[in-house]
């Protein structure tokens, strides 16, 4: 994942991802062909349709918000040499950190303060709350890795399942109002993130219905913060050193266990911000399975974006486009399920992650001749 190659930089960060993406699309096209539809037409809808409407763009940005958070989650851990597959669980459990203050503190503040004051304060507490709860759910496997030597891949997988059981219990038994049939909390109205349409209404503008919220700016801010952390601070340097060479890190006076735990706390916290966005934004309540695989998409985003915040934002936009395009595709060609996008994601993970060396010798030969 972090092996630097002897290829020109633009090949490494530009050509290889593009090449792999093309192969992923060709193979997905074969799948479309097998099920008897026109792959060119499908591709045109998948990639083209969302780009030609304002609503399409809004929805792309909505999906990208979640994918930036989970992509950053995976990549921060990558930089410390850790593979955090637990983004899904961390984002899920963080719902507790987003919903609890939203329901309790939000209600209390709303009774003593005007809405314009109570809402932002509550939202800020919810933001911190979801970061901390997600972070703690990431810190635990970090602790197990650092202090007990339990492999982080295994423990984060297990914690995903434990998270699913825990949340099912919490939402069903604690958050669900008595007598309510649907397994979800009551509406969180005192920590309400407006979507673009609602914001437009305030200013008298008529905008299309979309789940996009201003949290996209928090996601971009988080991407900047991660860049700053990794390349402009001492801690970031230590994280990257531990990821590059633990022995060297120890020799340089860095404590890898400490760095591993801090990194996993940050990584989990970033995934946790997805809960802040999803629970208080589009959903306005704590409900089952709201993460919907975004944690795993984060792996694809991090691989595609080469673990660099700029790359992650771009990759998140791409996967946002795919998610929105997939929905439109399944509307227009009924026989193509929107799960085709999951196939493309899987192919991207396969080619960008597991087979990233496949073209290496070929490209190396080519560019060596040229120079």
């Amino acid at each position: 994942m972090s092996a630097r190659s002897d290829l020109p930089a633009w090949v490494d960060i530009g050509l290889i991802p593009a090449l792999n993406l093309v192969i992923a699309f060709v193979m997905a096209g074969l799948v479309v062909l097998i099920i008897g539809e026109n792959p060119i037409k499908a591709l045109a809808i998948l990639l083209g349709e969302p780009l030609f409407s304002f609503q399409g763009w809004c929805n792309i940005l909505y999906y990208a918000t979640n994918f930036i958070f989970t992509g950053l989650c995976v990549s921060v851990a990558f930089h410390a040499g850790l593979f955090n597959i637990g983004g899904e669980g961390q984002a899920y459990v963080a719902g507790l950190g987003a919903a609890t203050p939203g329901l309790i503190l939000g209600g209390a503040l709303a009774s003593i303060l005007p809405n314009a004051l109570s809402q932002p304060i509550t939202l800020l507490v919810c933001l911190v709350g979801s970061f901390i709860v997600g972070g703690l759910w990431g810190l635990f496997p970090g602790y197990l890795q650092a202090k007990r030597g339990s492999h982080i891949v295994i423990t984060t997988i297990m914690l995903n399942f434990i998270a699913a059981s825990l949340m099912q219990y919490m939402i069903n038994r604690v958050f669900r109002p008595t007598g309510n049939q649907a397994v979800e909390s009551r509406a969180i109205n005192n920590a309400y993130i407006l979507n673009l349409r609602e914001i437009g209404n305030i200013f008298g503008a008529k905008l299309p219905s979309t789940p996009l919220t201003p949290v996209i700016f928090i996601a971009l801010l988080a991407a900047f913060a991660v860049w700053y952390l990794l390349w402009r601070t001492k801690l970031g340097y230590e994280i990257r050193t531990v990821g590059a060479n633990q022995e060297a890190a120890i020799y340089a006076g860095i404590s890898p266990p400490r760095i591993i735990m801090i990194t996993m706390m940050i990584s989990g916290g970033l995934a946790g911000l997805l809960a802040f966005h999803e629970v208080l934004g589009p959903q306005h309540k704590l409900l089952l399975e709201y993460v919907q695989g975004a944690g795993f998409v984060g792996i694809a985003v991090a691989l595609m974006g080469r673990s660099h915040p700029v790359g992650i934002v771009l990759a998140a936009l791409l996967f946002g486009l795919l998610s929105e395009g997939g929905t439109q595709l399944s509307f227009e060609i009924q026989s193509i399920s929107k799960d085709l996008v999951v196939v493309i994601q899987g192919l991207v993970v396969l080619f960008m992650g597991a087979l990233e060396q496949a073209f290496h010798p070929l490209l190396q030969k080519f560019f060596r001749q040229e120079s």
Binding site: V341, V343, A354
Partner: protein, 320 residues
Amino acid sequence: MEFALLPEILGSTVRMSVPLILACIAGLWSERSGVVDIGLEGKMLAGAFSAAAAASYFHSAWIGLLLAILVCIMFSLVHGYACITQRGNQVVSGVAINMLAAGLTVVIGNSWYKQGGRTPQLDDASRFLPINFPGRDALFQMDGVGPIARIFLDHSVLAFIAFALVPLSAWALAKTRFGLRLRAVGENPQAVDTAGISVARLRYQAVIIAGVLCGIAGAYLSTALQTSFVRDMSAGRGFLALTALIFANWRAWPALGTCLLFGFLQAIANFMQGFQLFGVEIPVQVFNALPYIMTIVLLAGFIGKSVPPKASGTPYSKDR
């Protein structure tokens, strides 16, 4: 606990354990050769879909099984190519396999059958039904012995295959030349290579065996346990099997015990909504989470220790 339900729960325990045992032994072969297999879940899912689709088309459970095995071997070869030939990251490859299987089964199933990823209901001829041996009904209706016999014998042929595979794998890995070499390749591939044996060849053989077993596990899900394929029907069983493998410390006999225990927990969770212990109600989610919690406690080294094969997860290259 109500004792009247006990035979039912134990019978269900066996049924729930079968896919776990198959996938767990699949993982055992793969990981003992040094190839980590996170993709058990995806392969099982692909196998379940292939088995149900082929069984409904050919009206034969056996053809379903065969196709499930072939499809799973194909997935295994993709994993093998990425991990062994290309020396890619084994965990990433496994994640990719899981995503591919989850997506492909729904995309193809939805386009063929237009039922949201579900395959058509299978009739009895295209399913693996409990074996109908002579004197079966008479035995099962006997007082006392009947219910106990049902627990052990009221199962399809795939279940018996699964249970037979445990001693077979234990023996093969411990006593045969192939098994010993395979384990050596998971511990110290350099030594095996020095002895003039191909590391890649052994590892490919191991992942193919894993594919075969995942195929059987998948076929069991959709043609024995259920009557059709439904989307995401493996429902985490591949990961549960992986958990069992770790809990059993990568050994065949303990894997059997662990899978039975995990199967028992699943059976209880299915049968007992509102299970009481000493007057305190235990939520069903506890049973779902317990295997993972137990394994994390084990991994953390608080009780015993779980040690993976030394070379697992690391690709082998000669020029080291």
